[in-house]
């Protein structure tokens, strides 16, 4: 789904066991090694990761705060099973954040950067035409990733980069809950490009909302 990758969370020189366990579990969830809804048995995880129960419980707790794992008292943990009816709302939440990043970034974006963004949009539109979902996702990620690199507000960028993996997982796993109409989406991206070309920043923010299905009361 069209949202940027998290910033390279490369290993710090002395990674805590907890952080390593967290990283491996998160990777396993995001890459589908662990499936949505799959039960996370502590004994099995201990054997797989070769660590004690404490870092595993801590990592599961962190992942539950991020919305990737569900835990219940007196019960086992499981990989989150995103509900299809929430896919649309999650996509809209991503849209709120990216429309905000667009709003903050555009006043600072020069002609060259706008042109580069226009090319990135052309790429998204081309991929939408091919219907190749992973390619569509990659092209949209690269478009909004470029936007975030130009965003002057580091707090917002950090918030988006931290939230992105979980939000994007929720959308992609439950994407059958969306009625993805690629031709319609391509028209919305074309409107975004045209607004950027005209230097109509207000319209560009609205176009970004439309791409993600965020309502715009004045539209």
């Amino acid at each position: 789904m069209p949202i940027p990758d998290a910033a390279g969370a490369a290993g710090a020189p002395r990674e805590l066991v907890r952080d390593r366990v967290y990283g491996r579990l998160k990777d396993a969830i995001l890459t589908g090694v662990l499936l949505p809804g799959e039960r996370l048995d502590e004994a099995e995880l201990r054997r797989w990761l070769g660590v004690s129960g404490t870092p595993i419980r801590q990592a599961l707790h962190t992942l539950s705060l991020e919305g990737l794992v569900q835990t219940a008292p007196q019960s086992h943990s499981a990989v989150i099973a995103p509900r299809p009816e929430q896919a649309q709302e999650t996509l809209q939440t991503i849209g709120v954040l990216l429309a905000g990043a667009t709003l903050l970034t555009l006043p600072h974006l020069g002609a060259e950067a706008r042109a580069a963004m226009g090319e990135a949009i052309d790429d998204v539109i081309a991929q939408l035409g091919s219907g190749d979902v992973p390619a569509i996702t990659r092209s949209a990620e690269s478009l909004f990733g470029a936007m975030l690199r130009s965003c002057p507000n580091p707090v917002l960028v950090e918030l988006i980069e931290r939230a992105a993996p979980s939000l994007s997982y929720h959308v992609s796993v439950a994407s059958h809950g969306l009625n993805a109409d690629f031709a319609d989406l391509a028209r919305k991206y074309a409107a975004l490009k045209s607004a950027l070309d005209r230097g109509d920043d207000r319209e560009a923010v609205i176009a970004t909302k439309r791409v993600f299905g965020v309502p715009h009361p004045t539209a």
Binding site: P73, Q92, T93, V96, G100, L103, L104, A163, D201, V214
Partner: protein, 225 residues
Amino acid sequence: MPVPGSPSSAPVRLLARDRAYEALKNAILTRTILPGERLDDDRLQSWLGMSKTPIRQALHALTVEGFVETVAQSHTRVVEPRAEDAVANLQTIGVVVLGILDFVFEELGETGRLDVVGDLDRLIEALDRLDIDGSIAASAAYYSRLMTHCRNSVLVEFSARALAARAYYVTTAYRALDVQWDEAAAAYRRLRDAVEAGDAEGAADATKLVFRIELPDPQTPGKAS
């Protein structure tokens, strides 16, 4: 400074970890524990009457949320927000509030709009009195009302979780700095009038002013209708 507070909608759970989390977060938000204050394991254990493990877990959750940080030698302390980050935090909250407003504005209807205008009147009054606690409380009422009208539950949950710490940074920074009372009151007045008139675009622009977000096309200021 008026920013959305976190709605205290803690799930009713019995885990010690969750109780420790709620107690600590509440103590931080009510300034029982101050910004920069060190969180000592032993003292927390006797205060909360529980063992080290749930307290550590709670501290970890608060670290993930951004209320608490670990410094050298694994001391834990409450984050001490930097004044120079206040605008970036404020804008970030503003981005989410603008999104919520997009969902809420049409839903409000006439009665809802009147309620919101009432909230904003109380907020403006507090700002006119230069009453920081009053304005924080009044803004919390306004932003909770927006949240309760928002039908996108994912967005509401996300904002409550992700913005609580940012709101804390901003209020802390504003307590330490001089609040621009006139500027804040003027922005909220503009918001109030736009809401009363049912002018969605005007309300969004006034919200941008409140959160110090540049209007996208300053050459065509406010299409007041």
